[in-house]
């Protein structure tokens, strides 16, 4: 039985990992950049950022997925399934990462920026070389939480017909009329999250050199 269901579940896990990795690779750097813009932007842009973050955090990711794929074509923008998934996840997770970064940057001693200023560093150098590295270290536990949430949130892409792990599991449950695939699916999620937790703790240790 396991041998029969495993290929489709592993294929599903592959899709899950793909969405996970691409989202993470896109959203975390994007959040660092956008937070810089937010910090340097004047009064004009700030409400725009706040609006974006409120929208992303105030509506379910599932709804955002459906809106981008089913709703945007009515506004003249048609995205493929893959692009819709990536856009929705990246926009959503970037918003969360921005908020995490904002908090972590607030916890960095303002004296650090002043010291940079006295040495003549530009605002960009102060942000990217002095504040951000310290903020990222402070934010690691919160970022880690989001990373694990992301693994599990990928299960939402079923709504666009993508065969991710949970969908593959449901499919197998229907085909073989037993709940066993759910157990396997759970174990696969657990293995993935366990792996990522381990990697995260290694990174945390690595950046705790000072």
């Amino acid at each position: 039985m396991i041998r029969q269901i495993l290929p489709s579940l592993l294929a599903g896990a592959g899709v899950t990992l793909q969405v996970f990795a691409l989202t993470l690779l896109l959203s975390l750097p994007l959040a660092c950049l956008l937070q810089a813009f937010q910090q340097f932007s004047g009064r004009l842009l700030k409400p725009l950022f706040r609006g974006y973050i409120t929208l992303m955090r105030g509506t379910p990711l599932l709804l955002q997925l459906m809106f981008i794929f089913f709703g945007m074509p009515y506004l003249g923008l048609t995205f493929s399934r893959e692009a819709s998934i990536l856009i929705a996840f990246t926009l959503n997770y970037t918003a969360y990462f921005i908020e995490i970064l904002r908090g972590a940057l607030g916890a960095v001693d303002p004296g650090q920026a002043e010291a940079g200023k006295m040495l003549g560093f530009s605002r960009r150098t102060i942000y990217f070389r002095i504040q951000l590295p310290q903020a990222l270290r402070n934010a690691m536990p919160a970022i880690g939480n989001e990373v694990l949430n992301l693994v599990k949130d990928t299960s939402l892409i079923y709504v666009l017909g993508a065969s991710e792990l949970l969908k593959a599991g449901r499919s197998a449950v229907n085909t073989y009329a037993t709940a066993l695939p759910f157990v396997v699916v759970g174990l696969l999620y657990l293995a993935m999250c366990g792996g990522f937790s381990w990697i995260l703790s290694r990174i945390e240790k690595r950046i705790s050199y000072y």
Binding site: D109, G111, Q112, A115, K117, L119, G120, R137, Y210
Partner: protein, 219 residues
């Protein structure tokens, strides 16, 4: 080469911190600005360093004007000529002591990394913490952090060096060492401004002593 503040005024909200303050710091002298905490000494220091903008008055350093009547003039140029050793030093914790020293000259003065490291090691040696070059700031003692911060400020060869409460976190011996370091720097031709409420330290270190209320003219 002297730093001149003329008729400066700074308010926080509706409360004036100081008004009509004038101060001049010349090459080679050690000016100690004293007074109880909360009197506005540190605010004046921050104004002189270009971290705060006074609403009135002019601040300039050997011809470079920092600000005039509530407007910035040339703060970037100005800050290159003045250094500040913060009360809590504000060393960058994620960089080694050496990198704390070299990053600014390499990035902004176009110095090669090699040259910068050579200069940094020489400075650290003078300040007797050369063995801490590769250490991270958090592993340093208060006195060592103080020296690292002084070395970092000196890397950019300022004309004026400011100290904010340099002895507040130091033991007796380290405070004595700081006196020596400051006097050595003045002997090399730097103008020094020390903000402190430590009378004993000021008396043995300074060449001139001022209180904030004495700097205010009534004109």
């Amino acid at each position: 080469m002297s730093c001149i503040a003329e008729k400066c005024a700074k308010t926080f909200g509706a409360d004036p911190v100081f008004e009509n303050v004038s101060l001049r710091i010349d090459q080679g002298e050690i000016v100690c600005l004293m007074g109880p905490s909360g009197a506005g000494k540190t605010t004046l220091l921050r104004c002189l360093c270009g971290l705060e903008l006074p609403e009135k008055g002019t601040i300039s350093l050997s011809g470079t004007v920092l600000c005039q009547d509530g407007h910035w003039c040339d703060p970037v140029q100005y800050r290159q000529k003045i250094g500040l050793v913060f009360q809590n030093w504000n060393l960058f914790p994620h960089w080694t002591v050496l990198r704390n020293l070299t990053e600014a000259p390499v990035r902004l003065k176009g110095m090669s990394r090699e040259e910068a490291e050579k200069k940094a090691r020489r400075l650290l040696e003078q300040l007797k913490i050369e063995q801490k070059a590769q250490a991270y700031p958090n592993s340093l003692s208060g006195g060592q952090k103080q020296r690292a911060a002084i070395a970092r400020a000196c890397m950019l060869a300022p004309e004026i060096l400011c100290f904010d409460e340099p002895t507040s976190a130091l033991d007796e011996q380290s405070a004595l060492d700081v006196t020596q370091i400051i006097q050595d720097l003045a002997a090399q031709g730097l103008g020094i401004l020390v903000v402190t409420h430590d009378e004993q330290f000021a008396r043995r270190t300074g060449t001139r002593f001022v209180r904030l209320n004495e700097l205010q003219s009534n004109s």
